[in-house]
């Protein structure tokens, strides 16, 4: 019995490890909208891991100390990353076309930033 279980778990582990993550998932990797310019404030892998840490640290500095530099500011992120659609309107925060929501809905990590913050760049009307 125990050896049977061992065989089953080994096959299961091998199957999970050998299949690439993208093919295994039901949900296709999101089509992340392109932002302005050619690169972000940090390399993609780094910013993917650390953007919340940077944003949260910056917001505390802005709120409590009045430091309003553009580096890691949420509004500056939006100014580049949220671009108007072909018809000129801006993507809704709940749609997959919004930069933040495209990844966050895929990763199933709920964000509440935009319950308060405007999800559009400064020049949006």
């Amino acid at each position: 019995m125990r050896s049977f279980l061992r065989i089953v778990t080994t096959i299961g582990v091998l199957a999970a490890v050998s299949l690439p993550a993208i093919a295994l998932a039901d949900v296709p990797f999101p089509d992340i909208p392109k932002g302005k310019g050619d690169k972000c404030v940090a390399p993609t892998d780094e910013i993917r891991k650390t953007h919340m840490h940077l944003l949260l640290h910056k917001r505390d500095q802005t709120m409590h100390q009045g430091i309003r530099t553009k580096q890691y500011s949420l509004r500056e992120c939006l100014n580049c990353h949220v671009q108007p659609k072909a018809d000129g309107s801006y993507p809704d925060i709940d749609s997959k076309e919004h930069f933040c929501n495209a990844c966050h809905s895929y990763a199933a990590v709920k964000i509440d930033c935009f319950q308060c913050h405007v999800p559009r760049p400064d020049d949006a009307k």
Binding site: R59, Q65, Q115, V118
Partner: protein, 247 residues
């Protein structure tokens, strides 16, 4: 915690100050030569060298609501259809002396006290007083308990009951948090005046003066020295930043 930031940045600020002669002759953090342009650099933390205050002359306060409308427009506050729950950052009060029949009207907003009761009672630290005297709600930390609303003697704070739409980008507001007059901190940090003061001046009444209470040469200090200004509920000993004249 915050005092360490000031002392560790002092050498850097000194060097920056040496290089920033054209920008405004900053001698030390927050200390500037009088009469020179005073815009605070974006990357400098606010300090207690400045204390922002308002002086409201009730004898010039007219029967209008220009300040209220300006505040709501500036901060994206929309009428939610229910006066009991629509947030109110500034409101007009009318007081009538029973014995003489004399009526005064005045705008009432967060008084930006030096010893704010709202800050004392806040369980999370969301209600805080910035170093330059502006009392704010950090809505990231606010849990919506409304203890500050109970503690405020001026009923300055409002709870956001409904899902908020149409916010201004510089004034994020959301359901479930408490909000109040920010003294237009986003404008003050850019060396502008609060929207209510600007609107009152533009309408010709000129009942509101905004400025640095710690600067003996500012317009507000001169007005206070010459004509005086009282606090509402001065008996509470809160040392408010908003003073009234003609009460």
């Amino acid at each position: 915690m915050s005092s360490n930031n000031e002392s560790s940045g002092s050498r850097r600020t000194f060097l920056k100050g040496g290089a920033a002669v054209a920008a405004g002759l900053a001698l030390a953090p927050g200390v500037r030569l009088l009469g020179v342009a005073r815009a605070k650099p974006d990357d400098e933390a606010v300090t207690s060298a400045v204390r922002w205050g308002l002086l409201i002359d009730t004898t010039k306060c007219a029967d209008c609501e220009v300040c209220v409308e300006a505040c709501h427009t500036e901060n994206g506050i929309e009428d939610q259809g229910n006066p009991a729950t629509t947030p109110q950052w500034i409101r007009k009060l009318m007081a009538r002396d029973k014995s003489t029949g004399h009526v005064v009207t005045l705008p009432m907003m967060c008084q930006h006290c030096e010893h704010p009761p709202c800050v004392d009672v806040c369980p999370t630290g969301a209600s805080f007083r910035r170093a330059d005297g502006i009392v704010l709600v950090d809505r990231h930390i606010c849990i919506g308990c409304r203890y500050c609303m109970m503690a405020c003697p001026y009923k300055a704070r409002s709870f956001e009951h409904e899902k908020v739409t149409g916010q201004a980008p510089h004034a994020p507001r959301g359901k479930g948090t408490v909000e109040a007059c920010t003294l237009c901190v986003h404008r003050v940090d850019k060396d502008q005046q609060p929207a209510c003061v600007e609107a009152c001046n533009a309408s010709g009444h000129g009942a509101m003066v905004f400025g640095d209470l710690k600067d003996p040469n500012s317009a507000i200090s001169n007005e206070l020295t010459r004509h005086g200004g009282t606090q509402i509920r001065a008996d509470l000993g809160l040392n408010t930043g908003v003073r009234y004249r003609g009460l």
